[in-house]
Amino acid sequence: MQEGKPLTDREINRGLLNILFENPLWYWGLVGLLAVVVLGAMSAAGYMINHGLGVTGLNRPVMWGFFITNFVFWIGISHAGVMLSAILRLSKAEWRRPATRAAEVLTVFSLMTAMLMPLIHTGRAWRIFYWVFPYDWARGIYPNIRSALVWDPSAVFTYLTSSILFVYIALLPDLAVIRDRSTGLRRQIYSILCLGWKGNPRQWKLQVIAGILLSALILPVFVSVHSIVSFDFSMAVSVKSWHSTIFPPYFVIGAVHSGVAAVVIVMALMRFLFGWHDYIRPEHFDALGRLLIVVATGWFFFFVMEFIFGLYGLEGDEIGMKDFLTAKPPWNWWFITFVGTTYFIPVSMWLFKGVRRNPWLMLVACVSVNIGMWLERFLIIVPGLAQKQTFNFVWGTYAPSPVEVVIIIGTFALVSMLMLLFAKVFPLIPLYDVKEGEILRSEIQIGRKKVPAVIRDE
């Protein structure tokens, strides 16, 4: 884990802060393009609010479609932050250093985007206030806290708050570095943001302790968020194929799978767009690829368990559901695509070291994962609802409308645009983390060979 030339502090500052102080044309062109797509999505949402939910493909019995699929998808992507930042920080993995902040920031923006989805899905978003707050004390109508749909915002807001705190605490030393390199109004803003960071031993000690504590405290939140999102489905007895005890860990490991794959995509793009070849090296992709093999295989085990237990009870409607998914076109083609893109294609690529060390091939494999994981959520939600259940009286089908498609595409553009805007204002790779890695870098002579080593500070 010691490839790449040794870097001085000056080189690190200059290399990682280049995008903050320069204005390349490609950057504003890309941001502009993404902004156009986001505006298009906002227009579509406005059109939908004006004309009603009828402009979407939602109809009895498929009341949840693309919007809820996208909600679960982005919640899943948000799990990258804690996985890579908190867990790897606690386990002292050296290869985490260039990935942590990008993962944490992706968490924050994907959570924000995810929360937009149920809001848009309500159709009349302003009525969310009536749902959250009791609007008529005399009639005693309160939010039903026994509903998983009420647990959801509590969990997501907690995760969002703690993630923002996590990003901010880790940003403080870097904000001070930018402050010291800025002038005028910019300097004043960064001075306020860095909370008077001077870099003395006491501040560093507090920052490290805060990072470790937040890492440990955010882990249960990370598990609980997607578990509670899974409760939206598994608590429902009425929809066949949803009421399954394996849903919470199945959703969580699926989230880790898609989230880590998303971070790999972000890292590959960062390396290409910002020229960070010295900081994001093939060894990092190699380590992430090996982690993804383990996570993907764990996910596949849970998927198989969930699938075969649908058949285990020999219940006619559950078997009918599985038959619908695996034998009826076009659903069987979506199913094959989902399994192939989520597991078989990427894992068979990751088995080769040459692929793992190639950023572009890793990008392709991880895009495949995220296509598959989006399809996974779609295939959990829609086919289950489309079947005749105990409490509805009709079979149905679902086809997304152009409005929904535009809004979904808009969410991808939104997250990308927010990441780019963040990169313009704050460094996406933590400066102090990279500098620490350089200090702890060492070598041992064993016989005739020099072996890379790391100094353990405990």
Binding site: V237, V451, R456
Partner: protein, 484 residues
């Protein structure tokens, strides 16, 4: 840049040399002291008690479908063997994959538990006969190998007895293969320093190991591949055994997290087993200079994570069943958690989750030797009670009621538990069987330590090369080589 010479320090500032490691560990294998003999005798008595209990049960009750309720604790003990000794080699496999240097003192001990795989296979044989019979060919006669309850495919070939037996035997063989591949370099070193039948046997068993570069590379690759197979087989065995011998015997019980929870309990209990083992090695075994604080400190974090996962999996199962208010699911929850087997469940919950969690969240406990060992012992005890509350009620469902649609259909007096779901208390023969099982695990492990070194010589010497202590800024810190 410093040269790694013959003298360096490992763990807590203890002087070890490669030559010293070889001599000392060889001595430990060939020397048999009074304490060892006493331990063998004590464990031998337990094993004999277990054999007596098994024979009495077999003679009195037999292995028919009608006798299955009598064998619940025997089945629970098989589950316990699987989650402790059966899963223990995973510690060596997993931490070799992640290239943790603190694994070195415990990897061989973890691999030695593969010898207990032979006991797993022997213990499993009667259980095949205890699976409920279904007259598949309709001739009115239940014949072993012809008529069995099928879950996986139709026909005797697809029956659990084939799948399960193959899986259990495969797991044992894979574990022994890992032990052999890992121990070959040490066998040569021992054969060169020993005399008598053991030296001759080890020389033969090493199959001409010379320590060439190609042999070392092949060994690393073999350990990686066999390790992957073992892990997959272990999950497979946990899935099959838990489904065939527990879940499927309770009508209407459909629980998709059951098998993963069982597998996770295996990982957790295996971690506890290894922690207790290295604690005993350090305090009673004379390996203090090899086993410092690092393995306990690092492994305790893993155990904390596994304990939290255990609690999470349990909560997923409980919450989904409890919230849904389905009658079958409510009956199952009452059976295995809150009514019939409430005591076993509470003990399971306390020992598998509450006690280790409350202990291991404190850094001062994790950063000690005794703390993780106590937590490890706690999860091992908790695993036993989990096996009791899963297998005993499942084996107690009478043959005539297996065809019921659901346990919720069992008739009961108002406010009473159905007869089929009443708790089964262990008798003296069950106690003998449990004691025999525990004694057999320890006996086989101890005998294994007199055949192979309980600590891997080559891995320990490799660690001496990669771990140095060097001054850094104002202190003295460990420098860890990372050749990968």
């Amino acid at each position: 840049m410093h040269r790694a010479n013959g003298h360096t320090t490992v763990g807590e500032e203890v002087q070890l040399t490669p030559q010293g490691v070889t001599e000392h560990l060889s001595y430990k294998v060939f020397n048999i002291d009074k304490r060892f003999v006493l331990a063998l005798v004590g464990l031998g008595v337990l094993v004999i008690l277990g054999i007596i209990g098994f024979i009495v049960r077999a003679v009195d009750d037999g292995f028919s479908d009608a006798a299955r309720p009598q064998w619940g604790y025997y089945a629970a003990m098989f589950g316990f063997l699987l989650v402790t000794a059966g899963s223990a080699p995973v510690a060596a496999i997993a931490f070799r994959w992640t290239k943790n240097h603190w694994r070195r003192p415990l990897s061989r001990a973890s691999e030695l538990f593969a010898l207990v795989g032979i006991l797993n296979v022997l213990w499993f044989i009667p259980m095949i006969f205890l699976l409920p019979g279904i007259d598949l060919n309709g001739d009115g006669v239940l014949a072993v190998g012809e008529d069995r309850r099928t879950i996986w495919f139709e026909g005797p070939i697809g029956a659990p007895l084939w799948w399960d037996t193959s899986a259990v035997i495969g797991l044992a063989l894979c574990g022994l293969a890992i032990l052999w591949v890992s121990a070959r370099p040490d066998m040569v070193a021992l054969a060169a320093r020993g005399t008598g039948w053991r030296a001759r046997f080890l020389s033969w068993l090493s199959m001409g190991w010379r320590g060439t570069e190609q042999e070392w590379r092949l060994q690393q690759a073999s350990l990686a591949v066999l390790g992957a197979f073992y892990f997959m087989l272990l999950v497979f065995v946990h899935t099959l055994i838990s489904l065939d011998f527990a879940l499927s015997l309770v009508p209407g019980w459909k629980d998709s997290i059951f098998a993963p929870h069982h597998a996770l309990t295996g990982l957790q209990a295996a971690s506890g087993t290894i922690l207790v083992t290295i604690f005993l090695m350090r305090t009673c075994g004379g390996f203090r200079q090899y086993i410092g604080l690092d393995p306990f400190w690092s492994f305790s974090k893993v155990l904390l994570g596994l304990t939290l996962l255990w609690g999470y999996f349990w909560f997923s199962e409980f919450m989904t069943f409890w919230y849904g208010r389905d009658p079958t699911e409510q009956t199952v929850v009452k059976l295995v958690m809150f009514e019939s087997y409430r005591v076993a469940f509470l003990l399971n919950f306390f020992f598998s989750f509450l006690i280790p969690f409350v202990m291991l969240i404190w850094n001062v406990v994790r950063k000690s030797v005794i703390g993780p060992a106590i937590a490890g012992a706690s999860v091992v005890i908790g695993a036993f009670f989990m096996m009791v509350r899963l297998y005993v009620p499942a084996f107690n469902i009478p043959q005539a009621d297996l065809g019921a649609h659901t346990v919720a259909d069992f008739e009961a007096e108002a406010g009473q538990i159905a007869v089929q779901l009443l708790p089964v208390k262990p008798d003296v023969w069950d106690g003998f069987i449990v004691a025999g099982g525990v004694g057999a695990i320890a006996l086989i492990f101890l005998l294994g330590t007199k055949l192979l070194p309980v600590m891997s010589m080559w891995e320990t010497k490799e660690g001496l090369l990669y771990i140095l202590f060097r001054p850094f800024i104002k202190g003295r810190y460990m420098v860890l080589g990372k050749p990968e």
